[in-house]
Structure formats: structure tokens, C-alpha cells
Symmetry: C2
Subunit: 458 residues, 2 copies
């Protein structure tokens, strides 16, 4: 019995986790679990005086709430025997058909409803895929930076993450190939590449058309499985949706989709599209995890797609996010001190900002909170401790005026931090170009990548 454990038959037990009497019996994976940078901010960003550029909450109030309410109410009154009852583990067949229609917008025209598994948000989809493929110690390749929720899944599976650098055109194929060769040399078991090709979270960049084919070719050549996570693909500001990786290869790409950004995150409806053999494993895994996804929310999404003008609603969302993106970029251009750089997303929710040399977004956070502005420090998006000089700014939720005020506050915080640091390091020696001063040999305006990557100068 450990020193902190209670006396037998005593019901007075210390409540502090450090005195947890069960501390010696958790699974190995549990010891690695920790709060994400985003969750740590939760109590801060909910204070009304704080402008939060931290959370990734969609603007759900832009939905026709009365129509959606009536629709869902009628589903329960009229079809309670189905919508309030258990369903199948794989998910409602009608919804799976409609999901195939949605994916066709990104060039996936050969998907069958039988290859679709409905999940509790695409987060559960990623968790299922990871459980099905990853043993402890297996390697997952992922962009650097990468989605914080994905890193949480990989950590819970005791997988090791190897980041692959990105630039303004997304994941760098040569870097992927190099990573694969290095893993091969190390004897690492690489289970898959995890990638967010469109409007990357947190980097805000999109994988270019030529690189899409290059990545798929590498997957064939190296016998690599690709997990394509695509929650934002339909939220582009400038052009039609790009063709998915899955549209180029149906056997080496497992696709994760979500209605959280195109309809509602509170319904938690996502999906996985996978080759039949993998789909079969995923269904067994989800049955062990949740039996079946909620019926009501699945019927709600299927009915919404059947009866509501969902394509027009996505356009409306996109216009709204474009306005907020513009407010963000205009304010950054106008207010940020020299040496600060950032990406220029043409869709999605996020800008990835690099601080002037020597500044640390995590150490700066208390000062920002005091100034009533919140962001997510970059270290949350790396599995290897990199990213201290970065932060993620989300423009999806606040109104444009709030965004401008938030950026103004942030600029002041960075300036104050620079003043503080000026006695130590007066010159910005960062390797990232400032926005608006592109290097003559390169048309892209900014670069994404960890400072410790050899790609960050290009």
C-alpha cells in the first residue's frame, strides 16, 4: 500500500490528485496524458472582457435555428421509435448515403455508403483509426505543426509522432520522403501519415495541387497509409474545393470528415471513409467504444441535408469567415511590430503567427491574458516541444470589431515584450520574412515550419 493511500476501512481519503490512492495502478498510457494548451485556456476565454482568438468554435448562430429546431422536433415526435432507439454501429444507412454526396464535392465519386463509418465527431474517427493501427512505440508522421487533438490521440495510443515540415504550400513532399527513409533506416514501424490538407489547423495553409499528387505517389512508392483529415475543405474563400487525396487513391487513403464546421459541432457527427477491410475493423472498434453513435443527431444531419439549403448555408458561413479573416489580416498588417510573420489562409479558421526573434508565446501568455486577449501557444501543436515562437489565432468566432480589438491588444503585448527583451537581444535575427516583404525569388508570402526545421528558411 502506498504512503498516501487511506487506512483500510477509513472513508476519509485525501482528495488531492497527488495523494491519489490509485496512482500505482493506472495504465502506462494514462501517465502520459496531460491537458492540452487549449483546455488550459478554457476558464480564461470564457471571461466576457477577454477577446478570444484561441478557440475554434464555429459561428453556429448563423444557422437558421428556428428551422433546424422544428426539423429536429419533428424527427422526435414523428420518428421517435427510430431517433430515440439504438442504431447500428456503422451508422444510419441514409446518412451514409448523403455523406457520399457531400464527399463528391471534393472529387470523391467512387465512395460507397458501405465504406463509411459514422463517428462521434471526426475526433472519434481518428481515435478509432489509431486504435486499429497503432501499437505502443509505432510511429505516426504528421505535419509540424499538427492538430492538437490528433496529438492527444497519438499520445493516448502511446504512438511516437515524427513531424514533417510544411511551407506555404503545405506538407513538403521531399521532407516526407526523407522522413520515411530515416524511419526505415531506424527500423521504425511507420503506421501512417496524418495530414490536414485544406486550411490546416493550426497553420492555415493548403496543400497545393501538384503536391497532392506527389504525396499520393510517395504513399504508393513507400507502401504508406495516409489519414486525410478534412474538416475545413468546403470552407474555402477563393476557389472551388480542391480534389481530395482520397479521390486520387481509394486504397491507401483513409478519409476523415465532419459536419462540425459545415453544420453543427454540438451534434458530434463525423465519419471515416475507408477500404472495406479497414472499415470492418473500425466498426468493431466503435462498437466496443460507444456501441453506436447517437441516433437523433445522425437523423438530424441526414434530414438537414435532405431538406435544408445546406450548400447555401456553407456559402453563408464562408462569407462570414472570409470577412473575419480579412479583419484579422488587415489588423495584423497594420499593427504588428516588425519581425512578426504570419500565414494568409484562403479558407478555414486559423492564422499561424511567428513572434519576433527571442519571444516565447507560452511565457508571454500571462501578459496577454492581463491585456484581455487570448491565443493558443504554438507548443501545443508539436509533440516534440517545438513551437514556442508560434501562436495560433482563430478568427472563426469573434465579430470583426472584436478581432480588430484583439489584434490591437496582442500587438501591444508583443511590443511590450519586445521592449522587455531589447536589452538582451536588440536585433531580429529570425529566419522568417515579415509579411509584405516577400523575398524576390519566392512568390509565397510566408513560411510555416518549426524554427528547428531545415525547411524554415525556404
Amino acid at each position: 500500500m502506498s504512503p498516501g493511500s487511506p487506512h483500510p476501512h477509513s472513508h476519509v481519503v485525501p482528495r488531492h490528485p497527488r495523494l491519489d490512492p490509485l496512482a500505482d495502478r493506472y495504465a502506462a498510457r494514462t501517465h502520459g496524458m496531460k491537458s492540452s494548451e487549449i483546455r488550459a485556456l478554457f476558464s480564461v476565454v470564457s471571461r466576457p472582457e477577454v477577446v478570444s482568438l484561441a478557440g475554434g468554435m464555429p459561428a453556429v448562430t448563423a444557422l437558421p435555428l428556428d428551422a433546424v429546431g422544428s426539423m429536429i422536433g419533428e424527427l422526435v415526435s414523428g420518428m421517435g421509435a427510430q431517433t430515440l432507439q439504438y442504431g447500428s454501429g456503422q451508422g444510419d444507412p441514409r446518412l451514409r448515403e448523403r455523406i457520399c454526396d457531400v464527399m463528391a464535392l471534393e472529387g470523391i465519386t467512387d465512395a460507397s455508403p458501405s465504406e463509411v463509418v459514422v463517428t462521434v465527431g471526426s475526433q472519434q474517427g481518428l481515435d478509432l483509426v489509431t486504435r486499429v493501427f497503432c501499437d505502443p512505440g509505432d510511429v505516426v508522421l504528421a505535419e509540424g505543426p499538427s492538430y492538437v487533438g490528433a496529438l492527444g490521440v497519438f499520445q493516448a495510443a502511446e504512438a511516437r509522432v515524427r513531424h514533417v515540415p510544411m511551407d506555404d504550400d503545405g506538407l513538403i513532399p521531399e521532407a516526407l520522403e526523407q522522413a520515411l527513409l530515416e524511419c526505415r533506416a531506424n527500423g521504425d514501424r511507420v503506421k501512417f501519415l496524418y495530414t490536414v490538407p485544406n486550411f490546416h489547423n493550426p497553420a492555415g495553409v493548403t496543400l497545393s495541387e501538384p503536391r497532392r499528387q506527389a504525396i499520393v505517389d510517395i504513399a504508393e512508392r513507400y507502401d504508406l497509409l495516409v489519414i486525410e483529415d478534412n474538416p475545413y475543405g468546403l470552407l474555402g474563400f477563393e476557389h472551388e474545393p480542391m480534389r481530395a487525396l482520397r479521390a486520387r487513391n481509394s486504397q491507401r487513403v483513409v478519409y476523415l470528415g465532419s459536419f462540425s464546421k459545415t453544420f453543427s459541432p454540438g451534434l458530434r457527427v463525423g465519419w471515416v471513409l475507408a477500404p472495406l477491410a479497414v472499415r470492418e475493423k473500425l466498426v468493431l472498434a466503435t462498437e466496443a467504444q460507444v456501441l453506436c453513435p447517437p441516433s437523433l443527431t445522425q437523423y438530424a444531419v441526414a434530414r438537414y441535408l435532405d431538406t435544408q439549403p445546406w450548400r447555401e448555408q456553407i456559402k453563408l458561413f464562408t462569407e462570414l469567415y472570409r470577412e473575419r479573416r480579412d479583419a484579422t489580416l488587415e489588423s495584423l498588417d497594420a499593427l504588428m511590430p516588425p519581425g512578426t510573420t504570419w500565414t494568409r489562409p484562403d479558407g478555414g479558421f486559423y492564422v499561424w503567427l511567428k513572434l519576433p526573434h527571442g519571444l516565447d508565446s507560452k511565457l508571454m501568455q500571462p501578459r496577454a491574458v492581463n491585456a484581455h486577449v487570448a491565443y493558443v501557444p504554438g507548443i501545443g501543436f508539436y509533440a516534440d516541444g517545438a513551437g514556442r515562437e508560434y501562436m495560433r489565432l482563430s478568427y472563426c468566432y469573434p465579430e470583426p470589431d472584436q478581432i480588430r480589438e484583439g489584434v490591437r491588444r496582442l500587438a501591444r503585448v508583443i511590443e511590450a515584450e519586445l521592449d522587455l527583451h531589447s536589452t538582451f537581444d536588440a536585433v531580429d535575427t529570425g529566419t522568417f520574412r515579415a509579411v509584405g516583404r516577400p523575398a524576390p525569388t519566392h512568390t509565397a508570402e510566408t513560411i510555416v515550419g518549426p524554427a528547428n526545421s531545415d525547411r524554415s528558411e525556404d
Copy 2:
């Protein structure tokens, strides 16, 4: 590259799972996953001519569907900003308060909403607890038979299940103690006891009052964690709810609850009540798995508890299930051939039936399906291959007349099977007494337990 994998650059890939090109890269846990006995029946039981005594679907049409529909519709129209948005990983605070009220009905009066984690059904709760505690090879103690969905969770975690015998008064404390001693002697790491104390699935028995205290005392003495899974506790036919194990010890018992049987399974709202240190781990685990449970379904349950006569609704459900239980037992008493025995549940959904000696419920299944009656073979409820002579009969879903017809068909199938076997084994040498002929030294009418258990004769 394995022989069955595709030629590089070829997109023509064999679709049969046996030719799965990814077969060599699944995680170890994936190779052990298999369809449950219940899932295998899915296509059979949905045929209208079949009387299904297989599924455990609650009678949701007994709910006031119009009122529930209006209520949920208004939640979306009036509170869309909350009900359609992301929520917290731990679950809605208001719902967690109401959950504490519900648990108070079973004597848990000291629970705090901060100790509650809302889950996607109690299945997810069990999965989270198992992920937090179990490494591959760890031992879980569970009743024999045990809930099939729990066995799926333990298998996915690569935990080893050791069954502990039950009788008509539920789990046998002396057998639990013996199992603990044997595990200790073997050097097994026992992570917890998993138990369903009320109206056991599939056994239909309830842990007696004296045994509850005995189990909790053993937990203290052996430093044992107990997972109390209680979906049916409020569905008793004869008496008030019994006092939960968790009400007797707040630090050694983790409690799993569900609204699937008292309200609606299609909403997938369950919960875990755990000491704060464990609760903290569970929240991290659920965030990695689903980010947060669906908001809409949580608000729906909280509003239902706030505004609808939910206690009266539970009474109504209970009356309905009691009627169906009566129809089941009366038909079994009237129709079953000698040598067949079964439990007499005083709540919940299930009867556990033992076939006459020599019969095998799994082998008999095709004959039953031909006769248009479905049940779940007993082997699905054991991790060790036991249970062939048992079956689970669910009376929760079919109307009493259907139940009577189903039992009539089943009796004929068993009789035909007995005829078939009579040339091989004319005498019933089973160790279970037939219902209605209790042994004089024992007031309980039937015994539950695997035939290979040394408890099965008492």
C-alpha cells in the same frame, strides 16, 4: 510486400478482407476483435416474421414523443448557440447536477457534479475506465456470465477476463475472494472487478443486500477497485431501488450510469462517477476520444429531467416490462421441456436460460431462426468459451403476445433438438434444477453460473 497486396500504381485491389493489403500493419489489439453474438444476429432479428428475444432495445415508444419532440425542438430554436456548439469534455454542468439527483435514488447522496463525467452512453464510460486502468495482460474480474459489450471493451484493451461465479443472489463473495487469492498467487495484476449488481445482463439476477456489504468489504481488504455498472437499477418490479455499492464506499467504487433504459438509448447519454483523481484522467481520456459528448443530447436529457415527469415515466416503463417478464415466465413455465431451467428476474430486461443436458444454444441457432425465433447464445457472455448450454432471452421489446409466441416456437425447437439428441443421451444429467422444483434446502428457484464452475450445483 505480402502476396495479397496490390501491385504498386495499380488501383485494382482485392476487396475481400482475407486479401486485405493492410493485414500486416494492424495493431495487436485489432487481431482479437470479432463480431459479438448479438451483432451477428442483427440481420436475422430485423426480419418481421421473426420474434426476437435477442436484442435489448428499450420500449421507447412508451415515451411521450410529442412532448419530448417539442422540448428538443425548442432547445435548438431557443438555445442553438449552446445546444449546437462544442461543450466541455466533462459534460454540461447542469446535467451533471441532475445526474447526482438521479443517483440519490439509489442511496448515493454524497456525489458532487465535479466527480461526474458525461459519456456517450455508459459503454464509453466503461471504455474510458478500462483505457485509464488497463495495460495489455492486466486482469479484469467479471461475473460469469458478463455483459457482452463489457467483454468487447476488455478484449479491445487486451485485458484478460477472469470470470467469477454467480448464483441467484448475484456474485458470490467467497468466489470473488478465491479469485483474488488465485490471481495474487499467479502474480496477475488485477485492475478491477466489473459487476452489474442489479437485474444482471444477461443473468437477470440481483446482488443481495448482505452480499453488497460483503463485496465492498472484500474490496477494502484486498485493495480492489470495483466498477459498478448500473443501467437497470431503477427498473425493479418488486421493491424500491437497492442501495448502490458506490453508496457504501466512495473511493473504491467507480459507478457507471445510463439514461438508455430510463429515457432513451438513441441519445447515448451515460456517465461515470469517480473519485476526483480518476475523474481527471477520465476527462483527459474522453477529450482524446471524442473531444466532448454531443451538446444537444445532453441538454435534451437535462431539460427532460427538469420539465418532464421522469419518475412517473420510469414507473410506466417498469409496469410494461413487468408485464412482459410475466408473459415470459408464464410461457416458460407452461411450455419448456423438463431439464430446461431459467432465472426469474425481478427487474430489468433479461432471463438467462439453461438448456437440457447435451444441447448447445449456438448449434441450435439455425434451427431457431428457421422456426422464426431469435435469442443470444450464451457463449457471447463468456470470455473463456463457456456458456454453450445457455441463452439470453430479452423480454423488453416484444409485446406479451409476441413473447408467448416466441417462447412457444423456442420450446418446439428445444423439443426437436432433444428428440434429435435422444439416441445419444436419453437422460438429463444437468446440474441445474428445473424451475418449480426447488431443492428443499434452498429457497432460491434457480441458479446461475457456468456449468464448469464449482458453484453451479448450489
